[in-house]
């Protein structure tokens, strides 16, 4: 038996209009037009934390450079442990160090933490409620390398895990705020990471914005639509809201950086302000992420607004340039604005 077409995606991409992408799939930092950027906010925040807390150590599985952990490794080499390309060991060893009283921050890519090391996170870390902080680059669709690198279902995987707190930061402000908040939280945390030059978005819309673990925050108000968003989709939603305002459409954006535990009270309070279309937006498959969590929350409380979800389809995604892929799968500002408009 032969496979129907080994190159089916290539053939599909060479549709009659010809090749589309002119940019490379190799993008180190996520671009957001019109915002300042902060260099390696995770690494900088971790060094600051480690300076004031002797329990903090960093571990990585041959991806220190690609998770901004190298900032700690360079500044405080005695606090960094290179575990090699061995994610099961990374998680078990982090658990062992936590048992000995340390606060380990372990970094890899989100695909490897969620898929390859899951049993080790579940049993060595979560079941014993150990304070291991798992910080993972390339969440959702933030790389064009294809499904081997795209962690489109990591939130769904970790939402099912008892004791696990889950953070999907939007920008540099969230990352700078979440690092000390993770250390202060007594149990395990899974956090998505943005690495390299990270846009500083939330503070430009709300100057006094500060990340708070477990809290959803209104970033902007609007009378027609309530977007409940997490991660980088909050920056997309904010840009789309500015654009829709010009068309006379008022879009509120409620940013939910903590996926678990979910700030149900704030989500319900906002959704109860009647008459608005409620749209969830996440850089994750529509299965098992923020959208379904919000839908469940509303349903259980008998709150029934018009409801739509923006997220990735239940598919293995294509490889290519990130802007192309974000357009293709509905995560770009253009597509977010267009979808919301279409639902009104």
């Amino acid at each position: 038996m032969t496979h129907a077409s080994q190159a089916r995606k290539y053939e599909a991409r060479h549709a009659p209009e010809g090749p589309r992408a002119a940019t490379s799939a190799m993008i180190a930092s996520l671009a957001a037009e019109g915002y300042d950027a902060v260099a390696a906010p995770f690494g900088q925040a971790l060094v600051e934390l480690a300076t004031s807390d002797a329990r903090v150590v960093g571990l990585s599985a041959d991806l220190a450079k690609y998770t901004d952990m190298h900032i700690l490794a360079q500044a405080m080499p005695e606090r960094f442990y290179q575990m090699g390309m061995a994610e099961q060991l990374l998680m078990s060893a982090a658990a062992g160090m936590a048992r000995e009283g340390f606060l380990p921050f372990a970094t890899t890519y989100a695909v490897f933490a969620s898929r390859r090391a899951y049993d080790f996170i579940a049993m060595a870390i979560a079941e014993e409620n150990l304070p291991v902080k798992i910080c993972c680059a390339l969440p959702g669709l933030t790389t064009g390398y294809g499904p081997s690198h795209q962690a489109t279902e990591d939130l769904a995987i970790f939402r099912g895990l008892p004791n696990m707190t889950i953070i999907d930061p939007c920008d540099a402000a969230d990352i700078q705020g979440m690092v000390p908040a993770m250390a202060a939280h007594p149990g395990p945390v899974y956090a998505r990471l943005l690495r390299g030059k990270v846009p500083d978005v939330l503070r430009s819309h709300k100057p006094d914005y500060r990340f708070e673990l477990g809290r959803a925050q209104m970033i902007r108000e609007g009378g027609d639509v309530l977007v409940v968003s997490t991660g980088i989709m909050t920056m997309r939603a904010l840009d789309a809201a500015v654009r829709l305002e010009a068309d006379g459409i008022g879009v509120a954006v409620l940013h939910v950086p903590t996926i678990k535990p979910l700030d149900r009270a704030t989500i319900l309070a906002e959704a109860r302000k009647g008459g608005r279309l409620v749209v969830t937006a996440e850089n994750h498959t529509v299965i098992g992420g923020l959208g379904e969590a919000v839908a469940t929350t509303l349903m259980l409380e008998g709150v029934a607004p018009q409801f739509r979800m923006i997220g990735l389809p239940d598919e293995f995604l294509e490889a290519g340039a990130l802007p192309t892929l974000h357009d293709m799968y509905g995560l770009s500002v253009d597509r977010v604005a267009e979808q919301i408009k279409g639902w009104l």
Partner: protein
């Protein structure tokens, strides 16, 4: 070091007698449930006797004492054996034998840190212990705490890839405060470990990963003691492994003879018979 830290150092109770008592506690627990991983417990009893009554430092009244040697039970299903040694060491009371595997017991069927004093980790998802041991050894070294981490794993766990991730890392980091014990009884769920995956040459595998390696008869108490001494006292930078060849159900010949003994079937009347055979051979 004082007498409190090595509770039974200098005791006039022999290691053979300790091993006998461990076997007896385990058989009595097996009898409570009518089943259990009794073959493994009888097989590893001599190794546990030496570990807890010759090698390790700990304080029975304070199982979380910072200076203790850490004993990790990677093979959670050997919990019955560890409970037996924890009872013999005075960390668990003997009266609790009757609660083994029952609701509200501190001694569940598979070992979990959250239930039992002296149980360092939740084992049982096989291939986890050695990686956690690597992290604990890193942590102890970081703190300049001279304690050892001792990880007990099975020959079947050699099949888990995570074992070799941890073995490679321990060698690369020269974790000389780590002792791994491999119980080589050549039995796993689906058959002999030497046939399910090619476990041999097991000692060469560890040597290749940079470990100080010994392989000895795990039911010869003097050989076990010498091996632990050599592992602990070796002055090289390597992590240490001892592969112990053990006999499933050791000490109860009619059970030793059973062909399929990963999970031994013991009929109701056989428990008393097994205890009687054990008692006949009670050492001084």
């Amino acid at each position: 070091m004082n007498a409190t830290d090595r509770p039974l150092h200098g005791s006039n109770i022999s290691l053979a007698r300790r091993a006998w008592a461990i076997r007896r506690h385990a058989l009595r627990m097996g009898q409570v449930q009518g089943q259990g991983y009794i073959g493994q417990a009888l097989g590893i009893a001599d190794v546990l006797a030496v570990a807890y009554f010759h090698t390790m430092e700990y304080r029975p009244e304070d199982p979380e004492w910072e200076g203790r040697d850490r004993f990790l039970l990677s093979i959670g299903h050997y919990a019955i054996a560890l409970y037996a040694v924890l009872i013999e060491a005075g960390i668990l009371p003997e009266e609790e034998i009757e609660t083994y595997g029952m609701d509200d017991s501190r001694m569940p069927m598979s070992g979990m840190a959250s239930y039992t004093p002296g149980m360092e980790i939740t084992g049982g998802s096989l291939g986890h212990g050695l990686g956690i041991a690597v992290g604990m050894a890193m942590g102890l070294r970081h703190k300049t705490n001279p304690a050892f981490v001792i990880n007990l794993m099975s020959d079947g766990e050699l099949g888990e890839g995570s074992t070799w991730e941890a073995a490679m890392s321990a060698g690369a980091q020269s974790l000389s405060n780590l002792i791994c014990i491999v119980d080589f009884n050549d039995q796993q769920a689906d058959g002999p470990s030497t046939q399910v995956l090619s476990a041999e040459p097991v000692a060469d595998k560890w040597r290749a990963f940079g470990w100080h390696t010994q392989r000895v008869d795990g039911n010869d108490i003097e050989a076990v003691r010498d091996a632990f001494d050599a592992a602990r006292n070796h002055d090289g930078p390597q992590p240490r492994v001892i592969v112990f060849d053990t006999t499933m159900c050791k000490g109860v010949p009619f059970l030793e003879a059973r062909e399929v003994n990963h999970f031994v079937r013991v009929e109701a009347e056989e428990w008393e018979r097994a205890l009687a055979i054990l008692d006949e051979g009670q050492p001084q």
